[in-house]
């Protein structure tokens, strides 16, 4: 007989240490996979986790990749903390990109310091509006936000497809599915010559700080946390659950929209069909790996971003299949959830008792 019991006392330090344990287990598991594939595990892991960031360019690329992940995950942490399962950050990112990109095209050829802030703001509002759809449907019609937000991802993708193929396609682009390159005034300023790291990182850092402020220093943050722990308690305390659902979705959508607009005005510079390699979904892993904590999310986004870069370098230097990157992401989540389970529950092995047979 195996009996599973809930643990009553979980030490907070262990709670924040398990993600690190999960990463080490992933490294170990990854080493075994490399070994089975016929590579020297130490060398493979070195190419995977050290080589990509061994120079300034590599490190800057890590930040470029981590910026949208961190931003989206921060937004998601508001939703997840309050038990709202927003799975559609990818759609909110794309819709934010569409709105921001539309404004950028509107200002095509305009110079002026005001252009970029307007684009960024409109992208955030776009993501916010798109995230409000599942929130409003949940509060007033009791729909399932997981399903609605997920399905809206495909709506956003198809809308982007339609726009870049049709009305917004580059008039000089031979009908290829992409818009014009935005004007210089609509691009994120590059921080260092020759690197792609852009001003979007400040937006991300500011968002991290603000979210920490909201979550830990305001009454709203307290409400969010209480309703996450127990909805009944929250209701008993008289918190307005409906308003809060809409607010957390708005925050989450705005963050995803910002990430989208950061990508198109940053490294991409135009709208096309592939503005996001599923950042919105990967950010879910980041949010949980970071324990829904703003500082934790910063580190988690760096680690997950590294799995992308690592997969590329490992393929370049060792011809390891590129999909090992996704295997690593999967393993991190698997080990994290596994150790969480053991953290909150204990498994008791009991001898078979006669009266149970």
């Amino acid at each position: 007989m195996i009996k599973i019991e809930k643990r009553n006392d979980v030490s907070p330090s262990i709670y924040f240490l398990t993600p690190i344990l999960a990463i080490f287990l992933t490294l170990f598991g990854g080493g075994i996979i490399f070994y089975v594939l016929g590579f020297n595990p130490i060398i493979a892991l070195k190419f995977f986790f050290i080589t990509p960031i061994s120079d300034l360019y590599g490190f800057s690329e890590l930040l470029v990749k981590a910026t949208p992940l961190c931003l989206i995950a921060i937004g998601l942490s508001f939703c997840f903390k309050s038990n709202n399962w927003n799975i559609g950050a990818e759609g909110q990112l794309i819709f934010g990109g569409i709105v921001g990109g539309g404004v950028a095209l509107l200002f095509y050829g305009h110079d002026g310091f005001y252009v970029l802030p307007i684009i960024i703001l409109s992208g955030a509002i776009g993501g916010m509006i798109f995230a409000m759809i599942p929130a409003v449907l949940k509060t007033y019609f009791n729909t399932n936000e997981i399903l609605v937000s997920l399905m809206l991802v495909y709506v956003a993708k198809l809308l982007l497809d339609y726009l870049v193929v049709g009305p917004w396609s580059n008039p000089e682009g031979f009908n290829f599915p992409e818009t014009r390159q935005f004007s210089e005034s609509a691009r994120m300023p590059i921080l260092f010559d020759g690197l792609r790291i852009h001003a979007g990182i400040f937006i991300t850092l500011m968002t991290v700080f603000l979210s920490w402020l909201i979550l830990y220093k305001t009454y709203l943050g307290f409400q969010i946390k209480v309703s996450g722990l127990s909805l009944k308690t929250a209701k008993y305390a008289g918190y307005k659950g409906e308003t809060m659902i809409i607010i957390v979705f708005m925050i989450s959508g705005a963050c995803a929209g910002l990430a989208g607009v950061g990508e198109i005005t940053g490294p991409i510079g135009q709208l096309h069909r592939n503005i996001s390699p599923d950042y919105g979904f990967t950010a879910i892993i980041v949010a949980f790996l970071g324990r829904l904590n703003p500082v934790g999310i910063i580190f988690a986004s760096l680690i997950v971003a590294l799995t992308y870069l690592g997969a590329e370098t490992a393929q370049i230097f060792l011809q390891v299949p590129k999909y090992t990157g996704q295997v690593f992401q999967g393993m991190i989540l698997f080990f994290l959830l596994g150790s969480d389970y053991l953290l909150f529950f204990k498994i008791k092995f009991l001898g078979l008792k006669k009266n149970e047979l």
Binding site: N175, E263, R273, N274, I316, F317
Partner: protein
């Protein structure tokens, strides 16, 4: 403790040294948009890479590189890690390729299907797939009973429209009653969407299915429905042995070998390549004997004529859908017109999505 630490440092330095030393050889890098196992576009590029490898030149590839912000990093990493020639094999890599080329003047870049050569170390190359489409059209016109040809198209770019037109013109020549029905799927690779499109075309009476997308789904649907089909990019015969009449094969191998050797020997020069049946960049898979030996002979002759230049896929008179003349009688379309083609010829149904 200190001793272990020192040992660790030394071993790391040693490993770093290994990776630096490996950079001394001449190396060619490839960037793929899909997985090497797609049995279509990327698969054929990888076959080309293997040919380069067989010629004694070291190669590296990175597969499934999204056409967004990641492409530039991958291309730059290849350039930085000692690759001397880099093939970027999808249209979406055009701007990143040119951007990286600017920073690495000593590395040569070859971009497939694009039109931007902003620096002297960037070449572009593509294949005259439309010549293969002419052969397909000839066979389709002869084989169809319903006179409806179903065409699964990806994006309304000149290359795809050129293929539709070349096929329709050739089919009309042998069968004036044919009509071309098109479904736009707006993807290069999506087995689900492609098979739905094939089914929709069959339901509309098409008994010939051809595709300008990369998965094997359409030929498999055709096989099940008992209609004829044509493979795309690689020989897809084994996925639909009864249904496939032939496949248009993209054979990049000779070009990749030639350019790699040129780059190694220092004779590489910037150029814009557009090769076809003549040079072998477009090749045809074996013809299905089910179409009869007479037709096979006809098509083989047409293939020879296209390769030798005796016949041109776009020979006048060619009319657009409204009946306006596009190419006058007795003349052929020039490459400029082909490169920017954005109207359907007469006999194609529907409008180009705008």
């Amino acid at each position: 403790m200190y001793k272990y630490f020192l040992r660790y440092i030394i071993s790391v330095l040693f490993l770093l040294g290994l990776s630096v030393q490996a950079n001394a050889d001449f190396k060619v890098g490839f960037v793929y948009v899909g997985p090497t196992g797609d049995h279509g576009w990327t698969y054929q590029h990888d076959e080309g890479r293997k040919a380069v490898e067989a010629a004694g030149i070291k190669t590296t590839y990175v597969e499934s590189v999204p056409e967004g912000a990641d492409a530039e990093r991958v291309i730059r990493q290849l350039a930085q890690s000692g690759h001397d020639l880099i093939f970027t094999t999808s249209f979406g890599y055009m701007d990143p390729t040119n951007k990286v080329a600017k920073d690495f003047p000593n590395v040569k870049f070859e971009h497939a299907t694009g039109y931007k050569r902003e620096h002297s170390n960037v070449s572009t190359y593509s294949a005259r797939f439309y010549e293969g489409r002419t052969l397909l059209g000839h066979m389709a016109g002869k084989m169809t009973k319903t006179n409806v040809i179903g065409y699964i198209a990806s994006f309304p770019i000149p290359e795809v429209i050129r293929g539709i037109n070349a096929m329709t013109l050739a089919a009309q020549k042998v069968n004036p009653d044919i009509k071309t029905k098109i479904v736009w799927v707006f993807t290069w690779y999506d087995p689900g969407k492609e098979s739905e499109a094939a089914q929709a075309l069959i339901d509309q009476g098409a008994d010939i299915i051809m595709q300008h997308t990369d998965s094997t789904a359409p030929v498999q649907v055709a096989e099940k429905a008992g209609v004829w089909s044509f493979g795309q990019a690689s020989d897809m015969q084994r996925f639909a042995p009864k249904s496939i009449l032939t496949s248009i094969i993209d054979d990049w191998a000779p070009y990749y070998v030639e350019r790699s050797i040129a780059a190694r020997d220092g004779t590489w020069k910037q150029q814009d390549t557009w090769h076809g049946l003549k040079e072998g960049m477009v090749a045809m898979a074996p013809y299905n004997s089910a179409m009869g030996s007479d037709l096979v002979k006809e098509v083989e002759q047409l293939q020879k004529d296209l390769a030798s230049g005796k016949t041109h896929s776009f020979t006048g008179p060619i009319y657009d859908q409204k009946g306006n003349i596009l190419v006058a009688e007795g003349s052929v379309a020039d490459d400029g017109m082909l490169a920017g083609m954005n109207v359907y010829v007469k006999g194609v149904e529907g409008d180009i999505p705008q």
